[in-house]
């Protein structure tokens, strides 16, 4: 079931490379370079150095005792990606790709960002490695995540606000791709999620798989061979596939949580796997939220990082294989989970990660105390406190 490196770029029927011809040589060069360096001992050594000394790996697997006792069911463990440099799992991937870009002798890095976490992680990796970065961000996201815009600017990175379409992540990706088409010779596109044309979904997954690999080791300290359940949030799906991939050939129950926004029936959500249909967007065949004419629909989520109408093709594959179960959490459930974790454990989770917490809270109640649930806490929530405050104010 596990597909290490699909030669044709496909996970079953999903994935592939649906791209303008101008990008084909760039994608081929990327694939060749990635294959060359992924097992290169110097590359691995350098990446490992930065992950450890710069980003702060390994991250703890923390037993959330207070939360567990409050719920009174299965034990909940948090994989603390929020403690990484920059405050999210995104740095695992940006360090890997920035080191690759350097070896490919690319002088200019572009990236897209939704919540701004990938943009910040790109800006940090590029500053550390002496690369020049520019980031595309939906105009709407630059407003709701303005703290991250300031951070990117301070890190020496130019932020382009994208006013086309829904002004969110999807449009930022369109614009980054257009930039790449225009500047294909010297530019490296540092894609932040496990989406896009092959080899991005595989490469991003591999750089994020360190999350799941560490969980597998760390859970042994708590007397378990593997977790009974792992849960992660899914937008494009990079923290989720990084958590899940090392565990798909074990007995672990795997659950991805999408953003149900105002509810799946409301039409205002971004639950692609729960409510989408197959199609082609951003270079890949995958599940999409689209209308009856094949036009991509506008999505909604309280968390900018999950506000995306597509999903990584490997998730689509695991959904159809029925290996991973995909559920969703509404904005309201997410806010409740955010507050509950904040108050019981003193940990402020990102709204994206709060989707996974919400599912863990629902599930832990139904499971025996001897069970273990591992939740990937993909990022910290400092960037979200204003959004949460507004939500609470408006719902009173």
């Amino acid at each position: 079931m596990k597909i290490k490196f699909p030669k044709d770029g496909r996970f079953g029927e999903f994935g592939g490379k649906y791209i303008p011809e101008t990008l084909v040589p760039a994608i081929e060069e990327l694939e060749q370079s990635y294959l060359k360096y992924k097992n290169d001992s110097d590359f691995k050594k350098e990446l490992n150095y930065y992950l450890t000394e710069y980003a702060g790996r390994p991250t703890p697997l923390y037993y959330a005792k207070n939360l567990t006792e409050k719920i009174g069911g299965a034990k909940i463990y948090l994989k603390r990606e929020d403690l990484l440099h920059g405050g999210a799992h995104k740095i695992n991937n940006t360090l890997g790709q920035a080191l690759l870009a350097k070896r490919m002798k690319k002088t200019r890095i572009i990236a897209e960002t939704g919540a701004g976490q990938h943009g910040v992680a790109t800006a940090m990796a590029c500053a550390a490695l002496g690369l020049k970065a520019e980031v595309y961000m939906g105009y709407k996201d630059t407003i709701r995540q303005k703290l991250n815009v300031f951070r990117m600017n301070m890190l020496g990175c130019e932020v382009h606000a994208v006013k086309a379409g829904s002004q969110t992540l999807k449009d930022a990706i369109n614009e980054a791709i257009r930039d790449w088409i225009t500047n294909v010779k010297d530019t490296y596109y540092l894609l932040g999620s496990a989406v896009g044309p092959h080899p991005y979904p595989v490469m991003v997954r591999d750089f994020q798989a360190v999350i799941g690999e560490e969980i597998k080791q760390q859970i042994k300290d708590f007397g378990k061979k593997t977790p009974d359940t792992v849960i992660a949030c899914v937008g494009g799906g990079s923290n989720a596939i990084g958590t899940f991939y090392p565990l798909v050939d074990t007995d672990t129950e795997i659950i991805g949580v999408e953003a149900a926004g105002q509810g799946l029936k409301s039409g205002h959500h971004s639950a692609t796997l729960s409510a989408g249909t197959k199609g082609v967007l951003h270079g890949m065949m995958t599940y999409l939220l689209q209308d009856s004419e094949g036009q991509i629909q506008e999505t909604h989520s309280i968390s900018a990082g999950l506000d995306y109408p597509g999903v990584g093709p490997e998730h689509s594959y695991f959904k159809d294989q029925k290996r991973i179960q995909y559920v969703s959490a509404t904005d309201k459930e997410v806010i409740d989970a955010f507050l509950m974790l904040t108050r019981t454990e003193g940990i402020i989770p990102a709204l994206e990660s709060s989707h996974a917490i919400a599912e863990a809270i629902k599930l832990a109640k139904k499971k025996p105390k001897s069970d273990t649930i591992v939740v990937t806490l993909s990022g910290r929530g400092d960037k979200d406190v204003e959004v949460v405050q507004d939500y609470i104010k408006n719902s009173k």
């Binding site: 011809e21 040589p25 257009r178 010779k185 199609g279 967007l281 004419e293």
Partner: protein
């Protein structure tokens, strides 16, 4: 672009193109995420979609044109629109309406198996794109699959970005012609807006020039009643420069 600024205006523009002596008409069908397109076509797509353009309207436009002319008609849209309808099902309808070919800028030869099979079955031309950075071996592969003509993308960039004529474009044109060896015509497009652009490309071997964004800009600034005559006049000038 179908439905931009309105369906009536699209038909007027088509009539102007025929009157002005265009050899092939490319009808754009809007997609919400046109990642190969620059600002002009993006904007036209957005407006067309906001006005509710659907595939049935495209098909009825094709039928209407067919009542008036036998000019070759090709559709330019993105893979998802075609995939969503079902290649086979849509190509059948399109052929019946009178369409001759399809251009899909995000369809690579690698992913085109089902697409080609369905197009072949319904006798529709599949026009592939090549770029100045396309390798020789890949160019040979694409030339095998393209029918109708081969679409050479003139510049590194999206549609409608105007530039001086680049030397790399001229080399690409010459290299492409060496590989097609007259088996399939080469049309050049992206950023072409003036008779002098066309003159240079024709001089270096282009069999056709494709003008999109410049035409949309002209339609944009022309009152509805005058679209047909303005488009005819512009087309005549362009056509003259090919000779």
């Amino acid at each position: 672009m179908v439905g931009y600024p309105s369906h009536k205006d699209t038909l007027s523009a088509v009539r102007g193109l025929i009157e002005g002596g265009a050899d092939i008409i490319e009808l754009g069908f809007p997609f919400s995420d046109p990642l190969a397109d620059g600002p002009v076509i993006q904007h036209a797509s957005t407006i067309s979609l906001e006005k509710g353009t659907k595939m049935v309207q495209f098909l009825s436009l094709v039928r209407q044109i067919r009542k008036e002319s036998q000019i070759p008609l090709v559709l330019m849209t993105y893979t998802n629109i075609l995939y969503h309808k079902g290649y086979e099902k849509f190509f059948k309808l399109a052929k019946e309406a009178g369409l001759d070919g399809i251009i899909t800028p995000d369809m690579t030869v690698e992913e085109s198996k089902e697409y080609l099979k369905a197009a072949k079955k319904h006798n529709l031309d599949t026009i592939f794109l090549v770029s100045p950075n396309t390798s020789k071996s890949r160019l040979q592969e694409i030339v095998k699959q393209t029918t109708g003509f081969l679409y050479l993308v003139a510049v590194f960039g999206t549609t409608g970005v105007q530039n001086k004529i680049q030397s790399y474009t001229i080399s690409a044109l010459q290299n492409t012609k060496k590989i097609t060896r007259g088996k399939v015509p080469v049309g050049i497009g992206f950023g072409i807006s003036t008779p002098s652009d066309i003159k240079s490309y024709v001089k270096h071997g282009a069999d056709a020039a494709i003008v999109g964004s410049a035409l949309i800009k002209l339609i944009e600034k022309t009152p509805s009643a005058k679209i047909q005559s303005a488009v005819a006049k512009f087309t005549r000038q362009l056509k003259l420069s090919t000779k």
